[in-house]
Amino acid sequence: MTGLLAAPAVLVVLVPFAAAATLGVLPGMRLAAWVNLAASGLVFLLACLLPFSPGDAGLLLRVDPLAATMAILAAFIGFTAAWVSIGCIAAEQAAGRLDPPRVRLYHALFQTYLGAVLLALLADNLGVMWVAIEAATVAAVLVVGLSRTHAAIEAAWKFFILCGVGIALALFGTILLTLAAGSVLGPGFAAMSWTGLARAAPHLPGPLLNLAFVFVLFGYGTKAGLVPLHVWLPDSHAEGPTPFSAVLGALAPIVALVALLRLRAVLSANVAAGGGAMAPGGALMALGLLSVLLGTISLWRRGDVKRFFAFSSIEQSGVIAFAFGLGGRMAVFAGLLQLILHALAKAAVFQCVGRAAQLKGGQRFTDIGGLIAGHPALGWLLAGAIAAVAGLPPFGLFVSEFLILGEAVLRVPWLALLLGAGLILGALGLILRLQSLCFGPPTKDCGPAPGGPALAAPAVHLVLVLLLGLALPMALGGWLYGIAGTFR
């Protein structure tokens, strides 16, 4: 037991990979779904131990508050997605859209993706993190292409090639970072670790850091879906199986944005110490704003529900990137809050949309309408989740967007004008679709109605979004605020 407590980080990473290997060979489909759930649950429980574990976890892993928080979040979303998967995949299978080998592959890849994401979050070493993100990409590409329809393969290809290039750029940035750190820390693993970079930040050669930052920004910015690097994102969200869309939509930005936040903190420390780096906020804010504006304007003229929410994810990534770019303790805090709450809310949206799509036999706006009239629980949950994403009170994103926009007004009023315009436009688009999906006369059903258990997951997500925004427990708030202080 003490051993387990000593190294939950290692277990958190290893369990999903082990589960993936098991699921790859497990024959029974029902059983596989439950094993998937059990593994995700175990990972979540283990992740909950992370905050109490020592910082250096060995095997190039390190647990700091930021990593622990995000790992818990990722594990939680993975867990609920696995929960939703059970019914969803069974229904897909029943409808004949997935055959047993593919279901087996799906489960294995699900766990691989989860493991890779957790590894990327917990890795101290930039190289390991890069490998993990690459692995996550490959796993995600395979899941997106799982249904083998023409559109799915196209989406997967787009995803693969564009993210491949992005990841390549990130690697170049990583190499430059190692070079920069190596000139201070000497060659070795220290030069390639976040802790090393953070420690040596004030003394690193600033210009080199700038160059590295540009490449890492473009590399991980691609994963986060920042405009103009976002083209892969809508297609892949729209084509993957919906429980996986929930995971992909929620976790991909987390990993990428957390990496960008860490690097930004390194540069800021260098700037503060007069190390010659340029303030990194401008570039982040520029890409963030672009994402907000393009993401929101693209909410119009959408016909596909999942693609629509993918654009909303682009917008949200932009908002978070903007907040991180803005810097300062409050803005970073708000950005982290937005990151967490948006991941929860967006996962809930995708979970509901997935069930609604199965219920109505299509995932276009013309197929799904008036959910509340026919299926009140599903309809209200979806309405709540979309309202949460739109930043309407009483959901928590209202608080984080309030803070982000407010900080922007305080510090960069002219950019705040653009951000505000983008947020209004985004809210308008979401409201439009919220009403068309959930209110009005219902469209006809042609699939199984979701049962209570399937809706428990989005319900729990929504409750969390509500509580974390309005009544954030002081301990948790202080914890996040402390993280923001570290990375401001």
Partner: protein, 220 residues
């Protein structure tokens, strides 16, 4: 010996850059594959030479992996694919050779301009290698955006990857090089396998704006 190996590695890096230009210039598919293989060989040898020069045995391993996988295995696979899928030998270009060469030169200039001033503290040869590596990366990108056919775009991507590995070995004391290069190889393998499995014959940019217009602005 060490000094000579270093110079050799440096020279081979330069050769990779030249080969990148040749890739950009080349119009025939089989020649493209050959030039790519040559570039991989140059990379492998450069890694080995650096390994000798710095006394770092893992670089030898990197060199071996590069030669074996990218100098031999992948070109072979590509040739098989070209034959099996009956892909046309000539390559459609989207940009034209002339403009893409000019673009390439400009990007190389930019790479040097960007890398040289910021790496003052680094070893001189490493600086130049880094600049070369970034140039190779940039040329790979140019190739990806100037060619229409899937195979040549993938070759562009792989050339880009060669540049990355060159950058990695240029940084003295870079840890985890082997792991990184292997990880990247896995991805390349997936891509090549993808072409094969999904029969992506001519081009993978079938999601064209033209398609969008044809569907009559259907909301996607």
């Amino acid at each position: 010996m060490a000094g000579f190996a270093l110079q050799l590695a440096h020279l081979l890096g330069g050769a990779m850059l030249v080969l990148s230009f040749v890739l950009l210039y080349q119009r025939r598919l089989s020649a493209l594959i050959t030039v790519y293989a040559l570039q991989a060989w140059a990379l492998g040898l450069a890694a080995a030479a650096l390994g000798v020069a710095q006394g770092a045995p893992h670089l030898l391993l990197v060199g071996f992996v590069a030669v074996a996988a990218k100098g031999v295995a992948i070109p072979l696979m590509l040739r098989v694919i070209v034959r099996r899928l009956a892909i046309r030998r000539a390559i459609e270009t989207a940009l034209g050779v002339g403009p893409s060469m000019i673009l390439g030169v400009a990007l190389v200039a930019l790479s040097i301009l960007v890398v040289m001033p910021v790496t003052l503290q680094a070893v001189p040869l490493a600086r130049e290698d880094l600049a070369t590596a970034l140039s190779v990366v940039m040329l790979g990108l140019v190739m990806m955006i100037s060619r229409r056919s899937a195979i040549s775009q993938v070759i562009g991507f792989m050339a880009l990857e060669n540049g990355l590995i060159l950058a990695a070995i240029a940084v003295p004391g870079m840890p985890l090089i082997v792991e990184l290069s292997v990880a990247f190889l896995v991805m390349l393998a997936f891509i090549v396998a993808g072409i094969f499995v999904f029969h992506i014959r001519a081009r993978f940019d079938s999601i064209d704006v033209g398609v969008l217009d044809r569907v009559g602005g259907v909301l996607r």
